[in-house]
């Protein structure tokens, strides 16, 4: 099975509220795809639609080319973490996984394996009602991993995790992708996906705003400025201006250069034997890139009803 997720033209309204407005994207295996957008952008509804919980008014969502509801032993095809708080408080964490395992014809020892994998073995026989938010999140991830599925959908997996937990889950996501799995991770905070996601689907108001690689996005957000620190400021400026760059004086002994890449700046200064202490290419962070995008396209106005 080619384990892609294909979402095409999903539309859904709840009364007068439009939740999905032509949502379309494809998620491919082997990398972590971030699914980002502000609250209410339609991330959860899209994920619920992919696993057949919500029925779209139009469009379709396929996993490996098939509608989720047609899958046999679905958790061996797709693992999903949707709402970590959705637990029976009276049942132990292990028993929660046990009934899930039984529903897929999986043996009981598989439960202990995933409990170990998420580091919950010691708490497994306690009632889930007493779990902290982070423990519930780990239990939810264990449930998603239970069927060893080629496709994983994780809705806000970072919620409630302590810093150590966030580091753990980033590593886990990268490992899962490196195994060749399709991993779709939603978040409303871009910073959480930094260094983890290679590809991003940015959504707003029920539709895709940008669907691009992280490098591409960062490059687009970076404006190619180079900051130069040199004692010979005037000399440097004249050399670079002659090469076609726009130069401006910055604070103290710095010069801001636009229109030339950093390696070209270094080459020119070396050629003209102008001394310099540092050349820094300005590279936008993923968060800045995201802010850039959302400022342009995603303006989400709370309480808005159309």
């Amino acid at each position: 099975m080619e384990a892609t997720i294909e979402v095409a033209g999903l539309r859904k309204r709840y009364g007068r509220t439009v939740a999905l407005d032509g949502m379309s994207f494809t998620v491919t295996p082997g990398r972590v795809t971030g699914f980002v957008g502000p609250n209410g952008a339609g991330k959860s509804t899209t994920m619920r639609t992919i696993v057949g919980l919500d029925a779209p008014d139009a469009g379709h969502a396929l996993v490996g080319g098939r509608v989720y509801r047609s899958l046999r032993r679905p958790l061996t095809h797709v693992g999903a973490l949707l709402d970590a708080a959705a637990l029976s408080p009276g049942r132990t964490g292990r028993n929660h996984l046990l009934w899930l395992a039984h529903s897929q014809g999986l043996p009981g020892h598989r439960v202990d394996e995933v409990l170990d994998e998420v580091g919950l073995s010691s708490a497994a026989r306690r009632r889930a009602g007493g779990y902290s938010l982070g423990m519930r999140q780990r239990l939810g991830i264990a449930a998603a991993l239970l069927g060893d599925p080629p496709v994983l959908l994780l809705d806000e997996p970072f919620n409630g995790l302590d810093p150590e937990g966030i580091v753990w889950i980033r590593g886990l996501l990268r490992t899962l992708a490196a195994d060749g799995r399709t991993v779709l991770v939603s978040s409303h905070l871009m910073s959480e996906l930094e260094d983890t996601a290679e590809h991003l689907v940015v959504v707003g108001r029920g539709r895709v705003v940008t669907d691009a690689g992280v490098a591409e996005l960062v490059a687009a957000a970076s404006d190619g400025r180079v900051t130069l620190r040199t004692a010979a400021r005037a000399e440097a400026m004249s050399v670079l201006a002659r090469a076609g760059a726009t130069v401006a004086t910055g604070a103290r002994d710095t010069v801001t250069v636009t229109g030339l890449p950093a390696d070209r700046v270094v080459a020119l200064l070396t050629e003209h034997t102008v001394p310099f202490a540092e050349v820094a290419a300005h590279r936008a962070s993923l968060s800045e890139a995201y802010m850039e995008l959302t400022r342009d396209a995603v303006e989400f106005r709370p309480g808005e009803a159309r």
Partner: protein, 508 residues
């Protein structure tokens, strides 16, 4: 199919890993047993003769093992082998003593199921096998045998101007009844097959007249039945017995006779007055299965408590998932929602059935044993009937659980589903038995609501020849056991279908 097996196992794991649900299901069974035991232990009966305590008299048993009432005036002689008895009935009259509304006059009126006619009986002992062809007070000619069987002949009443000829022909174990208005043209009424007629039988004329029933509303709701003594008098002539019969005088027996009532003492004693060819016979009593005694399903008094507990368990099996959001996980693991619902229904239904079976299988035999030890007469029933009560009631509990589960899936809110489930199962029983609701509606309630299923509990059937008021209050259901059970099955299936439809249509 394998997928269904997985989901079934998952639902069972879900059920058994919530301690509260297991405890509640067990408690439901224990409650039924305990309430039944307390109830049985609290019921006593004793009889005394003067200062001395004696065993209470028990009714005779008929050939089928059922308790019977067998009281009538019998004028008979012995017949060996095959033969025929014929007589003409020219009058059937009666009195009802002290009837309502004011209880102060004696009314000349023949009771509807009073009988005067011919009888062939294994002996004069109450409960002995028999066949009887008789004119009744208002129900025309009836051929009855062995207490529980009866076929109807021509309707009408008798008088001097319109007499009725009756003929009963014995050929081995088969008795054929005939009737005629003129003694020439005979019509066959039917064929009777008494179970245990020896070669030599008692054959002759008989008169019976059961108590007159009136029903009043009980002060706490329900109804109160009152019986008044009646007596019937039949006038026969042209009596003949063909075959190897003993000659001489008729023998007279007040079969199952009781102490004389004031009416019998001071006005007309029961018995035979012969005047030439004319035989006038007066008698009282009833020849029918007896319903005087404890019905064994009565020990299941705690059933409704257990049932409400199991309704809550079944409703929570689905509404708790909605409340906690677990339903999403369930439907992601089993996206075929109809199959998920079916798996849930099987688990919840099985839990209800097993809890119900433990409850009934313990309560019925233990309760009956305790009651008998306390001197209470529990009406005997065939083993098959007792099994039907035990297993059928458990099945009803299972089906009500399935119904409650389906209502939970339809309403998705626990209290609403519990109210709905109780309102369609327990409330109809309450309205039909313990309230001031008119009896017509009571019968309808137990026909067209899921409560009809409780009919499987009824251990004593209503026989066509039984006199009395067979109301829901006394444990008589308007539908036969399996028909009532089918109604409940239908409701459970319908609710499940609706739940499945909504589950598929709604977003989880």
């Amino acid at each position: 199919m394998r997928e269904f097996g997985y989901l079934l196992r998952a639902e069972w794991t879900k059920f058994r890993t919530l301690r509260g649900q297991l405890v509640a299901a067990t408690a439901a069974a224990v409650l039924v047993v305990l309430l039944g035991a307390v109830f049985a232990a609290g019921n006593h009966s004793s009889c005394s003769e003067g200062p001395k305590e004696v065993a209470c008299p028990t009714p005779p048993l008929g050939p089928g093992g059922e308790a019977v009432a067998d009281t009538f005036y019998f004028v008979h002689r012995t017949l060996s082998g095959d033969g025929t008895v014929t007589a003409r009935l020219t009058s059937l009259t009666g009195v009802i003593t002290y009837p309502p509304p004011n209880h102060d006059t004696i009314v000349p009126r023949v009771e509807g199921l009073a009988r005067a006619g011919l009888m062939v009986k294994a002996g004069a002992r109450p409960g002995a096998s028999y066949a009887a062809l008789a004119m009744t007070g208002t129900h025309g000619v009836r051929l009855a045998w062995d207490f529980t069987h009866e076929v109807a002949g021509a309707p009408g009443r008798v008088s001097g101007a319109a007499p009725r000829w009756l003929r009963l022909v014995r050929a081995g174990d088969t008795l054929t009844g005939y009737e005629s208005v003129d003694g020439h043209r005979w019509t066959r009424v039917g064929v009777a097959h008494p179970a245990a007629l020896p070669r030599s039988v008692q054959v002759g004329l008989f008169v019976s007249s059961p108590g007159d029933v009136t029903v009043e509303q009980g002060s706490l709701g329900g109804s109160i039945e009152q019986l008044r003594f009646t007596q019937a008098t039949g006038v026969f002539d042209r009596v003949s017995v063909a075959g190897t019969a003993a000659g001489g005088d008729w023998r007279r027996d007040y079969v199952g006779g009781h102490a004389a009532t004031d009416w019998e003492k001071y006005h007309r004693p029961p018995g035979l007055v012969a005047s030439g060819d004319r035989l006038t016979i007066s008698g009282s009593g009833e020849i029918a299965p007896s319903t005087d005694g404890f019905h064994l399903e009565g020990v299941l008094s705690g059933l409704y408590v257990g049932l409400i507990v199991l309704i809550v368990v079944a409703v929570l099996a689905v509404t708790a998932e909605y409340r906690r959001g677990v339903i999403a996980t369930t439907l992601v693991a089993g996206p075929r929602r109809g199959t998920v619902l079916a798996a849930k229904a099987v688990v919840v239904g099985a839990v209800g059935f097993v809890a119900g079976l433990v409850a009934t299988a313990v309560t019925v035999p233990v309760g009956v044993h305790v009651l008998r030890g306390n001197g209470i007469y529990v009406l005997p029933v065939p083993l098959g009937t007792e099994l039907r009560v035990v297993v059928g009631t458990a099945a009803v509990v299972g089906l009500v659980s399935v119904l409650a589960l389906a209502l939970g899936a339809v309403f998705r809110r626990g209290p609403v589903a519990v109210i709905a489930a109780v309102a369609v199962t327990v409330l109809p029983v309450l309205l039909a038995t313990a309230s001031f609701v008119p009896e017509g509606l009571s019968r309808w309630l137990l026909r067209i609501t899921p409560a009809a299923g409780f009919a499987v509990q009824q251990s004593i059937p209503v026989y066509p020849n039984a006199v009395g008021h067979h109301s829901p209050v006394d444990g008589y259901y308007p539908l036969p056991p399996w028909a009532g059970f089918a109604v409940l099955c239908g409701f459970a299936g319908l609710a499940l279908a609706l739940a499945g439809y909504l589950l598929r249509r709604r977003d989880a």
